[in-house]
């Protein structure tokens, strides 16, 4: 650092804002991915079963009922794409992202703010017609495009001081969490009927859909043997060291970022570093075959809980100083003061 430059420091509140802005945007992209893959799981006559999987992996059963919806495909789509009163919906996540962006305007680039602003306006105008038939897939593409435009603008314009690290931490925690949900949806999806080759083919199609949703279909094909198993797919999404959405890759990057924050910015990162180390070990501990045999869903649950603990530790270490009350540990949403 030049002798004439000053250490600008980072307000704890802004660090938290960056963390959550990134989380909410990542959540929007993943929701679009999940909806896209859910649509491909629909089979005529069983539409509701496929869509109900989405409610289950997000643990939204109670909230869905509270919001007064009935359990059918059309209502579930509305719940996630139109209902601003549902905090896990796309418009609610984007509204939260924009509110954070608004508090962060002194720090983020004008380009970032403009894009979020325009994107949020687009999302607030999604209507029932956009959820029908082939329009839905196009909508998902536009949602993904919106977040990816944000990601690109951020990559090219956000100043890389400690604020950038908190932005990255939020994104990676959310992405790891969402990847576990993407895997989970395969297990909550209706198992293909019939048997033998027919069943195997149908399952293959479902795994392909999950891989496509996680944007790693082609990479997986390049790496996998000609005849692949469910184990290979689970491995790829949980432990591949090169797939941008694999849980392990996200966790390793979180660990590197925390270490940088400690090393270059002198932050007290011990608590979160301990958590992330535990999580990394947990991810590598058991063979995938063992995980599948003892229950993937239960295993993914544990990963999600550990990610929440990690987010909690990050909050306690860096954000909490400005707010006396610690947030409830299970809180998956930001508690705005």
């Amino acid at each position: 650092m030049s002798a004439n430059m000053r250490d600008a420091g980072l307000l704890a509140r802004d660090a938290e804002g960056l963390f959550w802005m990134a989380r909410y945007l990542e959540r929007v992209e993943n929701m679009a991915r999940l909806i896209d893959v859910t649509q491909s799981f629909e089979s005529p006559g069983f539409e509701t079963d496929a869509w109900w999987g989405l409610i289950r992996i997000n643990a939204d059963e109670a909230r869905f009922k509270e919001r007064g919806f009935s359990a059918d495909a059309a209502h579930i789509k509305r719940f996630y794409l139109l209902d601003i009163g549902n905090p896990t919906s796309v418009p609610a996540s984007l509204e939260d992202a924009r509110t954070n962006a608004r508090t962060l305007r002194p720090l983020i680039s004008t380009e970032m703010w403009r894009q979020i602003n325009v994107f949020q306006r687009f999302v607030s105008r999604i209507g029932a017609a956009d959820l029908e038939g082939d329009a839905l897939s196009r909508l998902c593409t536009r949602l993904k495009d919106g977040v990816q435009a944000h990601t690109g603008i951020t990559e090219g314009t956000l100043y890389r001081d400690q604020g950038w690290y908190f932005y990255e931490l939020g994104r990676l925690v959310e992405r790891a969490d969402q990847t576990t949900r993407m895997l989970d949806i395969k297990y909550t999806a209706l198992l293909p009927r019939g048997g033998g080759e027919e069943k195997r083919m149908a399952e293959l199609t479902q795994w392909h859909a999950v891989l496509r949703a996680a944007a790693v279909y082609h990479a997986f094909k390049r790496r996998a043997r000609a005849i692949f198993s469910a184990e290979d797919v689970v491995h790829f999404l949980l432990r591949d060291s090169s797939s941008p959405r694999s849980v392990l890759l996200c966790v390793r990057r979180i660990e590197l970022h925390l270490d940088d924050l400690r090393r270059y910015y002198g932050l007290a990162a011990t608590g979160p570093l301990e958590q992330v180390e535990m999580l990394r070990q947990f991810l590598l501990e058991k063979p995938i075959s063992h995980i599948l045999a003892t229950g993937l869903h239960e295993y993914l649950d544990l990963v999600q809980i550990q990610l929440q603990n990690l987010a909690g530790a990050i909050g306690r270490a860096f954000f909490r100083d400005w707010r006396p009350e610690p947030a409830a540990p299970q809180a998956q949403a930001q508690t705005m003061a």
Binding site: D14, T103, Y265, D321, W322, R323, A337
Partner: protein
């Protein structure tokens, strides 16, 4: 000059009002004619298309203020008019000197009333107007401030009457807003209307953030060393001027904080960062006095910082503007400003007030009552236009009610003549039409005063309307201060 305008815009008629573009001003040189010709060349359709694009740009960029009505909050843009308001070099010279003079008097007055109170003892202004003023803060008594600067940021509302003379309408010495629009408007013009501006030398407006930060550093306590920590204290994202807070924090390069970010320990102010508490030396606050410190002012304020005033009294932090400046910019004191300027500076005001009759004085009361139907009467304690009677537009009953109110409590009333605000050509429904304008220059004062060239030109977008306030549909224009003086060139180009 006016022949050219007649030819280009045959329907443009400013009537009895002073027109900021078409009035004969030799020192404006060829600029008004150039502007008119260029506008004509661009044509109405293109002007409108570009103006629309510019407004959309403002929405996308979120350059907005928030209007709260009942349960809803709406982000609005300040309507932008693309036809600039032009000030000549000699006009600006006068405005600049007058603003500095006014701020010097305001600060001297504040230092005096929070000190020895000579101005009251010498009978220049009645004591009750000062000490019973709701904006007088006894907490400030006998705590001098660095360089005697209380009003670090001032906005002075200036209008131009039918004769083209400038007049001060109001002083804003608390937390005046609008400066961000001055700078954003210029950027917008440069992006959208480069062909309108080509070759015309203007005084730049980009220096505001640097000047402001320098002034904030100048008033910082010695503990800040040579690079004191300045912060901007905002009420937060729900404040209607939040965009401006962001703008200023960015332009200064300092953190935008809210009350919860700050903490006072041992009479020192700190901000909470990811690596713990970091000292703060100067707070540019965009929060009213009442909300600053719940230990001293409103105990229910969640926006402020408990202990802040204690830290200030201990000399460990500077607050800009200082607490209690509101006593200097209120309507009652405004009426005395010409005398206050003379009292402290021994000078006549370079720009006069709007003629103001003070009803607590026998002469003023008699004149007011004799001319009620021609005057605007205002209660001094109110703001936002409450209780005002506009004589020429009032019914007989309203005038009688006003007379009774004044007689009941003359000390609470002032009166002023109806003023014909100047107009500027403005892009309107009917084409290019005259719309009324005012001007708010911004003055930054640390050790000494600096005036941002130009200021905010607010324009009433409705035909005939005199209300330029943004909350009531007013818009704004880019304000050009010509860098060249054409006085001797006689307008030839």
């Amino acid at each position: 000059m006016s022949e050219i305008f007649n030819r280009l815009w045959p329907d443009y008629d400013p009537g009895r009002f002073f027109c900021e573009l078409s009035a004969k001003r030799p020192d404006a040189g060829p600029v008004p004619r150039l502007l008119a010709e260029r506008l004509e060349r661009i044509g109405l359709a293109d002007l409108r298309a570009r103006a629309d694009a510019a407004q959309n740009d403002l929405i996308d960029l979120g350059i907005t203020f928030t209007v709260y009505s009942d349960a809803t909050a709406i982000d609005r843009i300040l309507p932008f008019d693309c036809i600039p308001r032009v000030l000549t070099a000699p006009e600006w010279d006068l405005l600049e000197r007058a603003c500095k003079q006014r701020v010097a008097a305001l600060n001297a007055f504040l230092g005096d009333i929070y000190g020895k109170g000579r101005v009251v003892k010498d009978g220049v202004i009645p004591g009750d107007l000062v000490y019973k003023n709701s904006n007088y803060r006894p907490e400030m008594q006998d705590f001098p401030v660095p360089h005697g600067t209380y009003a670090h940021i001032c906005g002075i509302d200036i209008i131009r009457d039918e004769a083209g003379d400038f007049r001060v309408l109001e002083d804003n010495a608390r937390t005046p807003s609008g400066v961000s629009y001055v700078i954003e408007n210029r950027h917008l013009m440069l992006r959208t209307f480069p062909d309108l501006m080509a070759g015309i030398k203007l005084r730049p407006v980009d220096d505001y953030g640097r000047r402001l930060r320098a002034a904030m550093a100048e008033v910082a306590p010695p503990g800040g060393g040579d690079d004191p920590q300045v912060v901007l204290l905002s009420p937060g994202i729900y404040n209607s001027a939040y965009f401006e807070h962001v703008f200023l924090a960015r332009e200064m390069g300092v953190p935008l904080v809210v009350g919860a970010d700050l903490v006072v320990e041992d009479d020192r102010v700190f901000m909470r960062t990811t690596s713990g508490l970091k000292p703060v030396h100067t707070i540019y606050r965009r929060l009213n006095d009442d909300f600053l410190d719940p230990q001293v002012f409103r105990p229910d304020s969640m926006l402020g910082v408990p202990g802040l005033i204690g830290a200030w009294r201990a000399g460990n932090v500077a607050i800009a503007n200082a607490v209690g400046t509101g006593v200097a910019d209120d309507k009652a004191v405004y009426a005395y400003m010409p005398r206050i300027i003379k009292y402290y500076l021994g000078e006549e005001p370079l720009i006069q007030n709007v003629d103001t009759h003070i009803c607590r004085e026998a002469e003023g009361l008699k004149y007011t009552l004799d001319n009620l139907d021609r005057l605007v009467t205002k209660p001094v304690g109110e703001s936002g236009g409450y209780g005002i009677t506009i004589g020429p537009r009032a019914s007989k009953e309203e005038l009688e009610a006003s007379r009774a109110a004044i007689l009941a409590d003359p000390g609470n009333w002032i009166s002023q003549p109806m003023i014909g605000l100047s107009v500027g050509p403005t892009l309107a429904e009917e084409g290019i039409g005259p719309r009324h304008l005012d001007l708010r220059p911004f003055i930054v004062t640390g050790r000494e005063s600096w005036v941002l060239p130009g200021g905010l030109s607010r324009v009433a977008m409705k035909r005939g309307s005199l209300i330029v306030n943004s909350s009531q549909g007013g818009g704004s224009k880019d304000t050009w201060v010509l860098a060249e003086s054409f006085a001797t060139a006689g307008g030839a180009a």
